[in-house]
Each structure stands twice: as C-alpha cells, then as structure tokens.
Amino acid sequence: MTTPTKTQRGFTLTRTLDAPRDLVFQAWTDPDQMQWFFNPKMTPPGERAEVDLRVGGAWRLRMVVSEDHEYITGGIYLEIVPVERLVFEWGAVGGWPEIDPARAGAGLVVTIDFAESGEMTEMVLRLDFPEGASDDEVRKLLETGMRHGWGDTIDRLVAKFAG
C-alpha cells in the first residue's frame, strides 16, 4: 500500500553567488570545475568527477570521509537547460543516497535554478521526494541518510567534545 503523506518532504536552499550564472552552471557540470564538491582534506590529488551531461546520463564522484569510510554520490540527469536549470535524481547505484536501478525516478530529486541578478546569480536548490512516494519509502530513504551522512558528523562532534 502506498499512501501519500503530508509530512515535510523537501527543503529549499537559496544563495546569492557573486559570479555570472554561466560560471555557476559550469561549476556544477564541468568535471574540471567540480572539486568544490569533494571533501578537501581526504580526497586524493587528481581525483575527478565523472560527468555525462545528457538527460539519462550520470555524474558521479567518490566522497572520502575518513580512512575507512568513503561512498559514491552523484546523480542521474532528468532535465538540463544550459545555464538556467539542472534537475537530477540524487545519488548513485550502490552509493549515497542509494538509487535503485529497478525503480528509476523513485529517489530524491534535486532541482537547481540559476537566475541572473545583475552581475550575481541567485541559485535555488530544492530537494524533493517523488510525489507518489509512500511514508514507508520516505522513511527508508531518510534512515539511509541517518546512517551514512549524519552518523559520521555526530561521531566527529562527539569525538571533538570528548577530546
């Protein structure tokens, strides 16, 4: 049974960036300009994102969190409007968030809109759960988030406080 839920299903982050929007778009889509996405302390020099910039294509990169923890993240492009808009299902098969290849479009969707604002760019990033996802599916995705993302942050915070 899938019952649509009214619980909070996404968030929006808005940021005004001091750069023309073609550069902002390039920073999201050109593998030579995506180093900002990595963890700078742990990522080996020369590590690069893979980008197949077409609808249905994927971008992916390796996130190294610590010596014994790393994961793959990225996305599968759903919509590409050069310099204006980028939509992808966020994650990777076997990565975080997990994309189930048997159920395309069932995962978390990230939509990024780039709007010109004088010399600057207003970037709006929205994360959504798919419309038809049930409470159970939403919970399952969120629990995966707890395990992979949040757990490490908390561990590190606890270590800092304890030390």
Binding site: P40, M146, I154
Partner: protein
Amino acid sequence: MELAKPFDLSLPSVSRHLKVLETTGLVSKSRSAQWRRCRLQPAQLRAADDWLAPYREFFDTRIDRLEEHLKTMVADRKSGDSPKPTMHEDTEEI
C-alpha cells in the same frame, strides 16, 4: 568561537551549521556572562523531527565551498586565463 577552531570553516559558516543543529534540537545554546555555550543533545537524535537535516546540511556545506570556488573562477576569467581546477581547504565533511 572555540567551537569553530577545530574546523577550517569561517565563523559565519560555523554559526550557520550550528543554527541547523539547533533547529533540529541536536544542539542547545546557553549564555553565561560573555560566553555562549553549545551543548550537544544526543538524546534528541532519535527524536529529531527534522529528518531532512542531514540532506540540508550536506548541500549547505557544499554550497559554502562552491561560493569559494567561484571566486577563483571569476578571477581566472577576469585575468583572461582559462579556468583551472583548484582545491579548497575550508570545509568539513558530513
């Protein structure tokens, strides 16, 4: 301030991340004299209503670094160079 020291993050970035943690009830703040103390509330972890926090935090941190990286891209364009890959060391992983 002290909390910010171990991280290679700007003070406003640390404040922003702390605010997210505060919103979720994972961190509580108290004041004594000129000190503002942040306390970790691990009990809230299981009860946290805002399950979206890790995802928000993930992108918020990334965008902080995007902002830094764009400075390099803009500078490269102004100086007429083709943009070069750069590494920034100003963030903490989630």
